[in-house]
Symmetry: C2
Subunit: 144 residues, 2 copies
DNA sequence: ATAAAGCCTACTTAAATAATAGGAAAACAG
DNA sequence: CTGTTTTCCTATTATTTAAGTAGGCTTTAT
């Protein structure tokens, strides 16, 4: 019941790009340095985000990555689902395919549905804009 | 971000015992048959629940397991934490030990805290009594 | 032309998951 | 007191997932 590094790093990576105000494409190399995460691993993660259209890449020298939308248009849920896959707490809730035989008999399913709803309520409400705001608050407090 | 079979089976196992009204100890063998789960695997799971005091065992012939408390005194959270370990979505929230260097700088932590709270709100509120009630509702509907 | 970027695919290592297996110990029934 | 039924304990195994590493290819600004 843990979010993996892929999801966690993806969130930090997106936040890192969002906090860049240069207007220039942001390089993996720089993100990796700031976030203290392996470049090669970040490459793989951002590749998924790129294919999903959450970022846009610019190749070649002076290249890097840019966001494709306004920061308040990204939810944490979007970013996590792209990198983690489904956030449902049990696979019974995932595939309408491969469904469990006991579904119609299984009271625990109702618990999982409640849990799933609670999780979605959080991750689909928090946006990248929120994370940026929190980050700036924390930076302020850190300085004082 | 999935609950493992241990946690899921533990919940079904506890519910199975709770639904037994004979007053007699409930045997692993019977639970395994009803729930269609391997006896040997259930043994391991119930052993954890036993050591945590969530059930009481009676050894030897005519033995089995009994609940130690009223059904409304068990929350899903109790059962899941005993079998799954922490339900926190990231380990940053677990150990006051082994804490991440970036904690004071990391805005994502706030998201994880919100998510953790949302998860706890569900699992610590739903009791075994609730699950029993749901199960009986489902059984009714199934008959019709 | 060259250096600096991203792109792509394969590989590796370690840990966790999900069981299986086999026998020891306890307790009741006859 | 013997046999059967049940829990208890520990070890082993197979599979999958997580978390990276590695290396070469392609694109593009200068």
């Amino acid at each position: 019941m843990k979010i993996s590094t892929k999801g966690r790093y993806a969130l930090r990576l997106m936040l890192d790009i969002a906090l860049d105000h240069s207007g220039e494409p942001v390089r993996i190399k720089d993100i990796a340095a700031r976030q203290e995460i392996s470049e090669k691993y970040l490459e793989q993660i951002i590749s998924v985000l790129n294919k999903a259209g959450l970022v846009r890449s610019i190749r070649g020298s002076q290249g890097g990555y840019l966001l494709t939308k306004e920061v308040d248009k990204y939810t944490a849920g979007m970013i996590l689902r792209v990198t983690e896959g489904s956030l449902a707490p049990v696979s019974c809730l995932d595939d309408e395919v491969n469904t469990c035989e006991r579904q119609s008999l299984c009271a625990t399913l109702r618990l999982w549905q409640m849990l799933n709803t609670a999780i979605c309520d959080v991750v689909d409400k928090v946006t990248l804009a929120d994370l940026m705001e929190w980050q700036m608050q924390m930076a302020d407090n850190y300085v004082i």
